[in-house]
């Protein structure tokens, strides 16, 4: 009956096999051009190098699956590993992709059920596109109405995070988009973790332990004391975090 695995200390059982769901970042391949992929990845990585370290990542091949050019999975997986990421599987690929994934010991995952962002984009050649193309993907907003308690972690994948309550110290808010806190922010808030430098953090009462936009962070010690307890918004301005009163 139990979903939890409480330690029963039964010497007869060495392990339990259970299922759980995890939120994984995935890399949606929009181009088969190796150079532009490598270039963009290098850019992303330089924005938040620590964020990618030891991060499991899934490669989404859907957009490029029926293109003529083959994607060199082995090469891409190697590239991701060189940045410290751990490619764990692919999804949405064609037969050839799935075969090469199997050869590379990557799992073939089914489509996630979380979102249906219909991005019917043709395979774009990224050589002339900038990061903007990924930013314009439809965003989903996560709204939380109960207080976020110490030790809790909320991740809004692919979109904004709105908290209509307070955030306790030791709690962590992570969002690919903006973060809004309509209460007191005592914990940590990391906006734009996907590398979007346009993201902002808004809060009604700033007492945060740490704020970060696209990898640029500041701990409470370095926060402007005059802004403490005030409604503020936080954004990136020329690589430095700006905190303005609203």
């Amino acid at each position: 009956m139990s979903v939890n695995s409480f330690n029963k200390e039964d010497p007869g059982t060495a392990f339990e096999l259970k299922a759980d769901s995890f939120t994984l970042p995935f890399l949606r391949l929009l181009s088969t051009d190796a150079d532009s992929v490598a270039k963009q990845l290098a850019e992303k990585f330089s924005q938040a190098p620590d964020f990618f370290r030891n991060t499991p990542v899934v490669i989404d091949m859907k957009v490029v699956a029926d293109g003529e050019n083959r994607v060199e999975l082995a090469w891409l997986a190697g590239l991701l590993r060189s940045y410290g990421m751990i490619p764990v599987g692919i999804r949405g690929g064609n037969e050839a992709h799935n075969e090469s994934a199997a050869a590379l010991k990557l799992s073939v995952l089914s489509e996630g059920r979380a979102r249906k962002t219909v991005t019917k984009k043709p395979p774009v050649d990224l050589s002339d596109a900038t990061t903007k193309s990924t930013d314009s993907v439809l965003r989903e907003t996560t709204v939380i109405t109960r207080p976020v308690r110490s030790g809790q972690r909320v991740y809004a994948a692919g979109g904004d995070l709105v908290i209509v309550a307070s955030v306790g110290s030791g709690a962590e808010l992570i969002a690919d988009g903006n973060i809004h806190v309509y209460g007191t922010l005592r914990g940590r808030a990391l906006a734009g973790v996907g590398g979007n430098r346009e993201c902002r953090i808004f809060c009604n009462n700033l007492q945060a332990e740490l704020v970060s936009v696209a990898g640029t962070y500041r701990v409470s010690e370095n926060l402007d004391a005059t802004m403490g307890g005030k409604p503020v918004h936080i954004y990136l301005d020329n690589n430095s975090l700006k905190i303005d009163a609203i």
Binding site: S2, V3, R146, P147, S150, Q152, G168, A171
Partner: protein
Amino acid sequence: MKGHRSAVIDFDVGLRNLDLIMGCERRVVYDFVNVINGEANLNQALIRDKRSDNLYVLPASQTRDKHALTQEGVGRVLEELSEDFEYVICDSPAGIEHGATMAMYFADDAIVVTNPEVSSVRDSDRMLGILASKSRRAENNEEPIKEYLLLSRYSPERVKEGEMLHVEDVKEILALQLLGVVPESKAVLTASNSGVPVILDKEGDAGKAYMDVVERYLGEDLPHRFIEIQKKKLFGRLFGR
């Protein structure tokens, strides 16, 4: 005391002391773990309180540790108790370990007891987070556990000196309905040492505060007491109280 049939379970397996506080330590034969393991039935293990006919105590085991509690076992015992009792009170051990998670897993309501100090308040916040995510109600997507706050060992004088958090600060941080404030009182220590629940001390501040807590929990709207500094009355001064 309000006439509701209630049972109290001590979940602090290995550190049994609810029986001491309730003054029934010499009548413990079987304990909670015995019932879970099927070595005794509930009626054998439940100890009726001498002062109140409607109050029963299920003591913890002193010789086992917390892993003796299984989710199935606890669920079964609580199921059985709920047929017989209006209120089943699970006295959770402090911390977020196995014993505490067992105590709160099946809960409908939770009263978080905290002291007016930062570490205690943060721990409470963490506990509330666990209440919101790891309970049966959370796992089955039912209505969440109702959470209440009880602030104990409160001393308005020390708050004024800045040595203690103000009740409003604690309320603001935890964002909970305040069930009551129990003032720091010698009566609490005296009561627990003598095995007489402090609520029976009808004259003392702490006893009154706990009575208020019970009445507020049962739905009455009472003003909060013992938050302001009490001026010593002339009478009290004369007798040096």
